[in-house]
């Protein structure tokens, strides 16, 4: 594991110096009317509107979500998710919450491991994603210990100290108030339980970072247009990744809501990072 020491301000104000990549805007400073604003990709929008705007994006991509994931990551997202499961320490009888679970890649695996005495809850704020996930898993025969819940990560509708493991894979960056969501996850996690956040992050080498910028701002929207007939959603994806907190910032955010022994593993050069924190 390599721990990035890049300060947050550098990450958030970094000018994209390679060809035609839009500059990353400054975060609001947190006073007066700025408090009611948040980012939606590189745009500043009203906080109350972000959830519905994100929902529109995922309504649009839900049907082609899996095939786009495979294409965009060249299948590597499956290995990132396997790594997440390997770090989960999940066992038979555990209760697992797969938050922003999308089309259920993690939930399917967890369902097999926890067995009939365990419980897996696949939760997503987006109904369209949840439907695609439910149909996919039922067709695969993954039933019995798996429940589907449409839920907002900021206000999880579960009792305190309920889950042994919570995962959120490629979902946290779409949440409007990340601190509130992390606090909500902390609340529903059992003492001794762990949270795993798999999310795009900051590449660790300058060269990889430039290549990644070129890929995500030029190639990605074109692939989105070609396969899902939707370039805007994939433009948002690229922008939202750049606006997401880097490794150290997210680690600090987890610690500030109470998580302990918080660590992160960079995957594929830091393009993705897995953060892990425990509740004691």
């Amino acid at each position: 594991m390599s721990n990035s020491q890049v300060p947050q301000s550098e990450h958030k104000t970094k000018d994209a110096d390679s060809s035609n990549i839009p500059p990353i805007p400054q975060e609001p400073t947190g006073t007066g009317e700025d408090d009611s604003q948040t980012h939606f990709g590189f745009k500043q929008v009203d906080k109350t509107k972000k959830a519905s705007m994100v929902a529109d994006v995922f309504h649009s991509v839900a049907a082609k979500y899996d095939i786009m994931n495979d294409m965009m990551s060249m299948g590597i997202h499956r290995l990132w998710k396997r790594f997440t499961i390997d770090c989960s320490g999940v066992r038979a009888g555990h209760k697992v919450l797969d938050l922003a679970g999308g089309t259920g890649d993690l939930a399917a695996k967890f369902s097999k491991i926890v067995g009939e005495k365990g419980q897996v809850v696949l939760a997503d704020i987006n109904n369209a994603m949840l439907k695609v996930g439910r149909d996919k898993l039922r067709n695969k025969g993954v039933v019995g210990n798996l429940e589907y819940v449409q839920a907002n990560a900021e206000m999880l509708p579960f009792p305190d100290n309920y889950f042994d493991v919570i995962t959120i894979a490629f979902g946290l960056r779409n949440v409007t108030d990340k601190d509130k969501a992390l606090a909500s996850m902390y609340r529903v996690l059992k003492p001794g339980g762990r949270l795993l956040v798999l999310e795009f992050s900051k590449p660790q080498s300058e060269m990889l970072s430039k290549a990644y910028d070129l890929y995500s701002f030029h190639l990605l929207p074109k692939m989105g247009k070609l396969v899902a007939n939707d370039s805007e959603s994939y433009q948002y994806l690229a922008e939202s990744i750049r606006m997401h907190p880097d490794q150290e910032t997210l680690k600090a955010m987890m610690e500030s809501v109470g998580f302990e022994q918080t660590t992160f593993h960079n995957l594929t050069g830091g393009i993705v990072a897995l953060h892990r924190g425990f509740k004691f």
Binding site: R82, I85, A92
Partner: protein, 213 residues
């Protein structure tokens, strides 16, 4: 790229594909349901954990994780071959070739699951080629294997005869056994002589002491 996950994913895919090809594996897999078996193969840098349900999920045990499974095996690749014979498990443990912790039945059932796979490859091929071609292909294949084995046996016999009878560069089996017996007799005689000499030596060291007294 997470290499361990790439390997575990490959192992998982192969095992589950093979299990799907043998309908009888369902019953064996049921016995293992909700159990976990961790396997540490010395030659590999990772410990794999097999989690059983209606399929086999292969996980990688992370270095900072506590090793929690119903059964744990630590062995080398060469010992893996010997596990085919489950009656040998006790001997392998006694020889230190195998470390086994937890429920031994899980290891035996998993070994049974893999070694007793009965896949009808001819039936599978017939789905693509039709019954006749599949049957003829397999009959020809079996014939070729049978005749290759017979030829190999004949060649071994011919070479053995030539080495013993014609070229006289190897001894017949009966002579080897007789030679071994002679060596054993000589060893026993040497041991007896050695013991006698030791006794005489100890007597000779005692007698001067007696004289001085």
């Amino acid at each position: 790229m997470p290499a361990a996950q790439l390997v575990s994913s490959g192992i998982e895919r192969i095992i589950n594909q093979l299990l799907k090809l043998d309908a009888s594996s369902v019953l064996l897999l049921q016995k293992l349901s909700n159990k976990q078996l961790s396997v540490d193969i010395h030659e590999l840098p990772w410990i794999f954990k097999f989690s059983f349900s209606d399929q086999v999920d292969v996980l990688t045990v992370m270095p900072d994780e506590e090793l929690l499974s119903d059964c744990h095996l630590a062995l080398s690749l060469s010992t893996l071959q010997k596990l085919k014979d489950t009656s040998q498990i006790t001997r392998l443990i006694q020889n230190g070739e195998l470390v086994l912790e937890g429920d031994v039945a899980i290891a035996q059932q998993f070994s049974q699951l893999i070694t007793e796979l009965d896949i009808d490859w001819e039936e599978l091929l017939s789905k693509y080629t039709g019954d006749l071609l599949a049957h003829n292909t397999f009959r020809l294949g079996k014939k070729l294997i049978h005749s290759a084995k017979a030829k190999a046996n004949r060649l071994a016999t011919t070479l053995g005869d030539a080495a013993i009878e014609e070229k006289r560069i190897a001894a017949p089996a009966i002579l080897v056994v007789d030679f071994c017996d002679q060596v054993n007799e000589l060893r026993s005689a040497t041991d007896r002589l050695s013991a006698k000499i030791s006794r005489l030596e100890s007597q000779s060291t005692l007698s001067p002491n007696k004289q001085s007294n």
